[in-house]
């Protein structure tokens, strides 16, 4: 039972939590939050693999760490795009949930303008 294993199990649980939140919560903002939780769990798994790759001079394998750094930035960019989409959707339709017909019944000028 090392630190890596403890945090690996934590990452697995965080990924499961994020998956549950993404499916079960109807509000898009909460789905975005849950996706971020899911991605943080996956990154923790990468971190565990990096930690286990420790060798005499290094305390961790640098390649998975670099992959996680790239992943965090890309996840943040994806979240920004998703939030911008959500806010635009809200401005166009006035509804914050993806119920059927919300986009179809929105006044045309608020979208095409």
């Amino acid at each position: 039972m090392t630190a890596a294993v403890v945090f690996g199990l934590c990452g697995a649980a965080a990924a499961g939590l994020g998956l549950y939140g993404a499916i079960a919560n109807p509000r898009p903002l909460r789905k975005i939050l849950a996706f971020n939780l899911l991605s943080s769990g996956v990154f923790l798994l990468f971190g565990v693999i990096a930690r286990r790759g420790a060798v005499s001079a290094f305390s961790g394998d640098p390649v998975p760490q670099a992959l996680v750094i790239t992943g965090i930035v890309v996840a943040a960019a994806g979240t920004a795009l998703a939030v911008a989409l959500l806010l635009r959707f809200f401005k166009a339709t006035g509804s914050t949930t993806l119920s059927a017909g919300a986009l179809a019944s929105a006044p045309a000028d608020s979208i095409d303008e």
């Binding site: 403890v6 690996g8 499916i23 079960a24 903002l29 798994l45 693999i49």
Partner: protein, 315 residues
């Protein structure tokens, strides 16, 4: 069980508790605040996993930037964000989702418990080739030299995301200024913060970029701090967001990937391969690329947060 492992278990339990709370709580604003706390706890976890560069990234981008984005979204969506009873998913869907999550989590946990021993690792190769760049930080070596292609493409991904965000503007605001005009009140503590912190923050950001060569740090972490300082000035009303059609803004956005591409093709032309750095010039080249990257990262992340243009640009 040593005290280290006990502390790690407590930290992991805290992380999961806050994560559960973020998923379960009703109010979206509270969930966004909880997410910021979750990110900060994860920063501690990364430090325990001996990945200091990743800890800096998680604290800056994972918790700070994404947290600011989500807070802004939840406050803009406002009271309408509370879902009505009609939209709550039924027990059937929730049970299926819970089952699926438990299965996925169990599979991942089994994978963690049965990871191969001894662990495969690329650390020896990274150590052996560290002389190619002359930098002591192995993660920076990997990011900027051994997997420079990934980093360059990541810059392009950031630009594509920004283009996507800008495309959500209304037609008549295309090329205009993002975000609302924040009123500045000189007696406000926010104005004091925005006048005092940015000089410090810019120094800290450049320091992080410089130290990233030999110690944990790097272009991304430094760029995020500089972006945060700019956002602070914008929110306090001390400066206005530039119109996105501004030539200098667009030049700053492409500076990073463009320089990367130029150096990459230079490597192709001068000898071995795309993005191969000549060993004699490796460190200065990398520093130049990193400076350009920091500028691009700062401008891109700042613009990603303020969102699509909502006002006319100045004529």
């Amino acid at each position: 069980m040593t005290s280290d492992i006990i502390l790690d278990c407590i930290l992991a339990a805290l992380v999961l508790a806050v994560g559960c709370w973020v998923i379960v709580v009703r109010d979206s604003f509270a969930a966004a605040v909880g997410f910021v706390a979750y990110g900060l706890l994860l920063t501690l976890v990364w430090v325990r996993l001996d990945a200091i560069d990743v800890a800096l990234m998680e604290g800056a981008i994972g918790s700070g930037l994404t947290g600011a984005l989500l807070l802004r979204a939840s406050s803009r969506l406002g009271a309408k964000e509370q879902s009505t009873a009609a939209e709550q998913p039924g027990v059937m869907l929730r049970t299926v989702a819970a089952l699926l999550s438990v299965i996925v989590a169990a599979m991942l946990a089994t994978a963690v418990l049965y990871l191969p021993d001894p662990a495969p690792t690329l650390a020896p190769e990274a150590a052996a080739n560290a002389s190619a760049t002359g930098m002591a930080n192995p993660v920076t070596n990997v990011l900027m030299a051994f997997r420079a292609m990934d980093t360059m493409l990541e810059k392009v991904v950031l630009l594509v995301a920004l283009a996507g965000v800008w495309s959500l503007a209304r037609d008549r605001y295309w090329g205009g200024r993002p975000g609302p005009r924040f009123r500045s009140d000189p007696k406000d503590p926010l104005a004091l913060l925005a006048q005092t912190l940015p000089p410090l923050g810019i120094v800290v950001g450049i320091y992080m970029l410089w130290e990233g060569a030999d110690a944990p740090g790097g272009a991304f972490q430094g760029g995020t701090i500089i972006a945060a300082m700019w956002l602070l000035a914008v929110i306090a009303g001390l400066t206005d967001t530039p119109p996105v059609s501004n030539r200098r803004v667009r030049l700053a956005l492409i500076a990073g990937p463009l320089l990367f591409l130029i150096v990459g093709f230079g490597g192709l032309w001068l000898g071995e391969a795309f993005l191969a750095y000549p060993v004699a010039y490796a460190k200065p080249l990398l520093l130049v690329i990193e400076f350009a990257m920091t500028l691009t990262v700062a401008v891109t992340l700042g613009l990603l947060i303020v969102g699509p243009p909502e006002r006319e640009g100045a004529p």
